[in-house]
């Protein structure tokens, strides 16, 4: 038998027969249906996953968008709660700036922010005396009530009380750190007044001590005694004595006149 005839015979036999080996047709179809549905599932899952991502992104955007004003409120509350470090004797309130109009975000109704209260010292400025000038000059010599002439600064002599004491400037500092509220306020620093003396060159009432010619000191003193007999008078005040007296007076005065 030729090979080709053999193959043809087998082919005809197989093609013309309805014989089919045993198999579970319904089960195979169910498996096909299940696998077909599983193949279609990824398309649904992609759509669902994309929807979830979009929804979460939108929710996150809205959440953080609404959280920003809340953070501002918290900051304002903290600022109001903070205690001042200095003694509060009076309060001044700073009005808030008005919100701009025609702003969509500001159209949302919100509770009004509390005004920021800042403590200040009770410092009433004293009336300016006519004698005080902005750029004051030294009045070197004044005549006291007793008729004596005395070296003075701003009409202050060793025998009269100061007519006017310039109020010390009050500094306002922001109270940023709330922890400082528990700390004790710092004691006021004692201030000292320093007067700058301008010694006149030629004054008849004062004895000028020569500095440059020490060699002929005795001779020059004798010469001065002849010229100015008052120089030897111990009762006559000189300008150094006036300065010393003025200094003692200043030390008895409180450094800060605002403190009582």
């Amino acid at each position: 038998m030729q090979a080709e005839e053999f193959y043809n015979k087998i082919r005809e036999n197989l093609d013309n027969s309805d014989f089919t080996p045993e198999w579970n047709k319904s089960e195979v179809w169910q498996r096909i249906e299940r696998k077909d549905q599983k193949k279609a599932m990824p398309l649904w899952w992609k759509a669902v996953a994309a929807g979830i991502v979009m929804a979460s992104a939108l929710g996150g955007y809205l959440f953080f968008d609404n959280k920003a004003p809340l953070a501002d409120k918290t900051a304002i509350k903290k600022q109001v709660i903070a205690k001042p470090t200095q003694q509060v004797s009076a309060e001044t309130s700073t009005p808030l700036a008005e919100a701009p109009e025609s702003n969509t975000r500001n159209k949302i109704s919100r509770p009004a922010h509390k005004a920021i209260v800042q403590p200040v010292e009770n410092a009433e400025p004293e009336p300016i005396v006519a004698n005080e000038i902005a750029n004051e000059e030294f009045d070197n010599m004044v005549t006291t009530e007793g008729g004596e002439q005395e070296f003075s600064y701003n009409n202050v002599t060793s025998r009269n009380e100061p007519a006017f004491v310039r109020p010390m400037p009050i500094l306002f500092r922001p109270n940023n750190n709330t922890s400082r509220a528990s700390e004790k306020p710092a004691e006021p620093v004692k201030r000292e007044r320093v007067a700058i003396l301008e010694i006149p060159e030629e004054q008849e009432d004062f004895v000028i001590v020569p500095k440059d010619k020490k060699k002929n000191r005795n001779a020059r003193l004798a010469k001065q005694t002849e010229k100015i007999p008052e120089a030897t008078d111990p009762n006559k005040p000189n300008k150094i004595w006036a300065f010393v007296k003025q200094s003692f007076k200043n030390e008895t005065m409180p450094a800060d006149s605002t403190l009582k």
């Binding site: 197989l14 027969s17 047709k25 089960e27």
Partner: protein, 184 residues
């Protein structure tokens, strides 16, 4: 009989059309699958994968007539079977020395049933059976078989020759067993 409208509905993923195609061509395609893998479970697995590819690929298939449609489905099943055989380690080609030439009577094939032929083909080694199915039943050329199985054409020819001799021998033995039992 499958109508052209059924093919059109099949393109639109119509479940009823899919069921209709399966009912009509299921047994025909299962026979092909069984000849290659010779095991029921593997043949059923092949059916599942093949029909899924048919339902997916029908969109790109150019439908001319039912014969071309049948040939297209048949080719899908054969390719799936070859893929499965390639994955299995049992797929190997039989050494040529094992095949022995046996003379077979002309009308001996008329005496045995189709079921017997299926059984005898299934008894062939994987390499012989695959080349025999591709060449003798599917009508592939040796060049196509060589490309499909990634072997040379000479190997395909010799494997087919040995498959034929072995199958003739089995048919003859079957005929002798029938004769001894007084069936024929």
């Amino acid at each position: 009989m499958v109508l052209t409208s059924t093919i059109e509905r099949l393109r639109q993923k119509d479940a009823a059309a899919q069921k209709e195609i399966f009912e009509h061509y299921g047994s025909f395609l299962y026979r092909i699958a069984y000849r290659y893998v010779r095991e029921r479970m593997l043949a059923e697995d092949l059916m599942v994968e093949s029909f899924l590819k048919i339902f997916d690929g029908i969109i790109n298939f150019r439908f001319d007539n039912l014969r071309s449609f049948e040939a297209w489905m048949r080719k899908i099943v054969v390719n799936e079977a070859l893929m499965l055989l390639r994955k299995q380690s049992s797929f190997h080609l039989m050494p040529e020395s094992e095949a022995i030439e046996v003379p077979v009577d002309d009308n001996i094939l008329d005496k045995i049933s189709t079921e017997e032929i299926y059984r005898l083909i299934a008894e062939l080694p994987d390499g012989y059976r695959t080349v025999f199915n591709l060449f003798a039943i599917e009508g592939y050329t040796h060049k196509e078989i060589a490309e499909q199985l990634q072997i040379s054409e000479g190997t395909s020819k010799s494997q087919l020759n040995h498959a034929r001799k072995l199958l003739q021998k089995k048919i003859l033995m079957t005929d002798e067993s029938h004769a001894s039992r007084g069936i024929l």
